[in-house]
Subunit: 80 residues, 4 copies
């Protein structure tokens, strides 16, 4: 009866992020999720995957049982 | 340091709601707020004001330290 | 991967509430749930059941994948 | 009118943690706060302070406008 939520502390892209411009991306996730806004969050492709960088979310939207986040990639992990 | 949130269980319009079409309204509130989605919520003009009706939120957006909700007025309180 | 939560806006007892003293009750619910604290909430035996009264939660605890709430029954619905 | 919450993603002790036994600590924070349960969180003495280690929260309690968390220190940062 209550409203299911998921509290997230990292951005897991599953490779589905869409670049809007430069370092700005949008990502759609299933269900209604809470993310901290305007703070650095780890970005990973999968939960157990390697760190890709850090990003800050500046917009979050709930609709149609999905969460849409817009974030700016702030630092990029060099991969070697 | 943490992210301030406000958990709301009713829609308080302060008369600032904007009608989009028929029974659909949009309302902007200060700060980041949690509202239950897709369930009947009481609508009041002020916290202590009289009940205006019930509505269900179908979209919620966080951006620029504000929360934008879109809701459908489902029942209207007759006022006499 | 995120932490599942459930946002609740009413107390549904399923008849499992335990009276502590006078109007004070404790109730254990599955999973981690959010309830508004210190505000009047409807109390029902089942989601669709009749209103039993209103109560205010003054303590909430999360442990072992359960939520324990302590509340005071403030008003009782007369049942006829 | 709504219920103020703070969403936290790290444990900031301000040196006020109380050891219960071995690696188990309890900490009282002002206000009602959300922390992810059962996942590794960074522990710092101050927000900007150095990383002390990681811990997992297994109990969280809201009462009297405060949040009490019980956590186990899982890894300790060597400090040199």
């Amino acid at each position: 009866m209550g409203m299911p939520l998921e509290m997230n502390t990292m951005i897991v892209t599953k490779g589905k992020e869409v670049r809007q411009q430069e370092n700005f991306f949008q990502l759609i996730k299933d269900g209604y999720r809470l993310y901290p806004m305007h703070v650095p969050l780890e970005v990973r492709k999968t939960i157990e995957g390697e760190l890709k960088g850090t990003a800050e979310i500046h917009r979050l939207e709930w609709r149609d049982q999905a969460t849409i986040i817009s974030y700016e990639l702030k630092t990029l992990q060099s991969s070697n």
